[in-house]
Each structure stands twice: as structure tokens, then as C-alpha cells.
């Protein structure tokens, strides 16, 4: 049942889907070649994912807000919880798609210096996505599409400027963490994933709570 609700989101985003998938291959190569940083691959991937996810999610939210289809869905055996859960699963599905496409881009764009990402980097990217949508989804559930749009539009414009700084700062403290934690590298690689999933789940529970009191 959940997958059919995700499918609904894919149909709603249909118009942009193909363009976004091509973008997910082209953008990392382009951004990386322009940036010329040592860790440019990671930033290219993250920026691409963030843009793709935001554009698609926004497209869906816009239509949900306009047509109020969730009300009809909630008269069928689909539940309110399902509608919310599907949003999170959708974000995850698009993330995986972007990751796979990035790997394709890495093959094509090898000559531009685009490299494959470590498990750790992918985990960090997911964590950032998780934080971003972990805030966006509950806020949107609470305040509705229109109000939330403006808040996050400003945020998304700021990302390309603030992100490199954040990453640099993050990497500077990263070294400290490496020293502090006496656990094997293989497990440490998966820590960002674990935190990302945990954040996603917490955010989901909050959204479900907010949504259960909404008048559809």
C-alpha cells in the first residue's frame, strides 16, 4: 500500500522527473569541473541531490495543496499515517536514484575529476538530506504549503553559499571525532547512515502526530 502512495508522488512529479534524472547525471560533472576543489565530488553530489529532491518534493506538495487529493485518499483504506510515511519513503527513493545516477556520472565524468564516493560520504549526504527534509516535512505539515514555501526558498538559495563553509567546518571537527572514537572504521563508516535514519524516523513520528489532528 505504501509503495502505491509513493507511486502517486512519482506520477505527480512526472513532468519534471525525466529532466531531473538527466540533471542528476549532468549536474555533478558540471559542478565538480567548476568548483575544482579537492573534495569537489562530495559537494557536487550533495548539491545535486538537494536540488533534485527539493524541486520534486515541491512539485508534489504544490499539487497536493492545490487539489487536496489526500482527503480522497483518506476516505479509502489508505490512512493518514500512510500518506505521511510515503513522503519520507519518496525522499529515500529519490536519494537512492540520485546515488545510482551519480555513479553513472562518475564513470562518464572521470576525466573531469569526478570520483566515486565513500560509504561515509554518502552517509553524510543522506544525513544532511535527512536534516533538511526532517525539518521541512513537519513544518509543511503544520503550516501548509504556501507559508513553508517562502521560508525554505530563502534557505535553498543560501545553501550554495553556506554549504562549502559548513563542509569545511565539518571536516575540521571530523578529525577530532576520528581520534575520539575507539571503534573500527567499518562501523564508523555507517554512523552517518544510522543517525540519518534515526532523524528521519523522529521527524516522521512528529509529522504523523501533527497530521493526525489536521482537518483535511
Amino acid at each position: 500500500m505504501l509503495l502505491h502512495l509513493v507511486k502517486k508522488d512519482l506520477i505527480l512529479a512526472k513532468k519534471y522527473l525525466l529532466v531531473m534524472l538527466i540533471f542528476a547525471i549532468v549536474a555533478p560533472i558540471f559542478i565538480n569541473s567548476k568548483l575544482g576543489l579537492s573534495n569537489g565530488s562530495f559537494i557536487s553530489f550533495l548539491t545535486t541531490v538537494l536540488f533534485v529532491e527539493y524541486i520534486l518534493f515541491n512539485m508534489i506538495s504544490f499539487q497536493e495543496d492545490k487539489y487536496k487529493g489526500a482527503a480522497l485518499l483518506c476516505t479509502t483504506p489508505y490512512t493518514r499515517n500512510g500518506v505521511i510515511k510515503a513522503k519520507y519513503v519518496f525522499i529515500l527513493v529519490i536519494f537512492i536514484a540520485c546515488f545510482l545516477l551519480y555513479n553513472l556520472a562518475a564513470v562518464i565524468g572521470a576525466s573531469y575529476g569526478l570520483t566515486r564516493l565513500s560509504i561515509y560520504s554518502v552517509g553524510v549526504a543522506l544525513l544532511i538530506i535527512s536534516v533538511f527534509f526532517g525539518i521541512l516535512i513537519p513544518v509543511q505539515t503544520k503550516f501548509g504549503y504556501e507559508k513553508t514555501k517562502y521560508i525554505f526558498l530563502i534557505m535553498i538559495f543560501l545553501t550554495p553559499f553556506t554549504l562549502p563553509t559548513i563542509i569545511e567546518w565539518y571536516q575540521s571537527i571530523d578529525i577530532n571525532i576520528n581520534i575520539d572514537l575507539p571503534i573500527p572504521q567499518s562501523i564508523k563508516d555507517w554512523i552517518p547512515f544510522a543517525i540519518a535514519v534515526l532523524m528521519g524516523l523522529i521527524s516522521m513520528i512528529i509529522s504523523i502526530r501533527i497530521y493526525s489532528r489536521k482537518n483535511l
Partner: protein, 284 residues
Amino acid sequence: MKAVLEVNNLKKELGSFSLEQLTFSLKEGCITGFIGVNGSGKTTTIKTILGLYPKDDGSIKFFGKDMEKNEYEIKNRIGVVLDEGYFYEEMTLKEMKSIIAPAYTNWDESVFLNYINRFNLKLNQKIATLSKGMRMKFAITLALSHHADLLIMDEPTSGLDPLIRNELMEILLDFMEEEGKSVFFSTHITSDLEKVADMLILIDNGKIVFNESKDELLERHALIKGDNRLINEHSTKLFLRLRQTPFGFEGITNKVDQVCEQMKDIIIERPSIEDVMLAYVKER
């Protein structure tokens, strides 16, 4: 007759409007018309019993089972048509169906295709391009393709021409041919109900005014016409609603026997549902 829906002391506040202590039930095998003027609380009631609006208090039981605890099972047995459709307009009929259908355990594709053919709907058409009548037919198709036992519709006939309204009534009667089916639909066009309704529930300003068999209700009331001389302080009290013109009076009464006793030379007619509804609706 068993009750398919029992609502007890339902309460819901919505801005300045509120449903207060709403209590009513629907009988199995009946078409129940839910009438009231615009803004009387019909849509709020329907949305609240379906859980689209969380209730503030009270209980809602479908088929004798609590809605909150048996949501999945209950929703599998009801078909719903909402007033504005609530479709994703950009989708084609086929896409919309592909989302709705998997929700039901007993979706019947052959029934679905049957209705699609009967209504001349085209599966590859975008929902946004459907006319109002076609949209309603598509909504009904989606609501009736999983062998629902109870069909709930909010203002399905508003904005439709009489021909399509009549067609819809025929569909309802067809649906009712099978034993154990029930229909609950709200409307402010009471003429639709004259032919098909078994029970009538009137809501006004968030309160239930009556919940009664249509035939009994109309027999209990009468439309009285006569000379203005008959109207005095005493006889006025016999009427729920009285209209006087220089040519005579016209009134609705629920005290038919008393009127007949006390007034001579009057015309007694069977009232329409609208006559009775207006007699009970408070002017605002």
C-alpha cells in the same frame, strides 16, 4: 432493519461553526437523504464521520464497529464521493484509478470497466478536462468498484443538469437492488430525493432536526391553502410556516387533524420535501 451507521453525541468545532451533540443512525437497505440549506453543516458532518475532520467528542460506528479501531475494515466497505471530487487534476483517469484501486482488498476491475463503458469515459483523458457531470460519474465509478456496502456522497448532484441528476438517481436505485446496500447522501436539491429517498435527515445550524421515514414525514405534514379570514392569533399557532398574500394564505402544518377541525373551506395538499424542510429551517 440493522443500523449501518450510528453517530452518537458527535461534536466538532470548526472556526465559528460547530456540530453539537449530533445523534443519528442510518438503516440498512435504505437511501437516506441528508438535507439542509447551505452552511447548515452537511459537509462538516460527512467529513467528520469519515475521519477527514478529527472529531472533538462522541462516537461513530459503522456496521456496529468503532471507526477508530476498525478503520481499515470499515473503509473497505464504504464508497465515498466528495463534493469537489478531490482528484489530482493533472492525472489521467487511468492513473487516478491505479492509485485508488490497490487500496481496496476487493477491488473489481470488471465492475470498474463496466461503469467506464456505461458512462462513456475515456481512460486516457486528463481529469482536468472532464465536465462536471463526467467528473461526478468518474467519482461514482471509483466509489462503486469495490463492492461497497454503504455509499456516502456529499452533494453529488449540485451543479448538474436535471438529465444527469436523473441518471444518477437511476444508478442509485440500481445499486440498491442488491440486498444489504445502503446510501447516504447530502443535498440541498430536495427534488432529487422525492423519488428515491427512504429516510430523511434534516440538519440545521449544526443540529439534527428530524430523522424520519420520508413517507411518514410527508404524511404527518400538510400544505394548507385558504382564505386569509381563517388566519387569526389562535390558528397561526397551528402552522410551522405561514405565508400570506392579498389572495390568501399558504402554510405548512404538522397538526393536520386540528387544522381540519378548526378551519373550513381549505385545500389540503401533500407537501414537497422542500416545503417541510423550509418549515423547520430557522431564518438567519
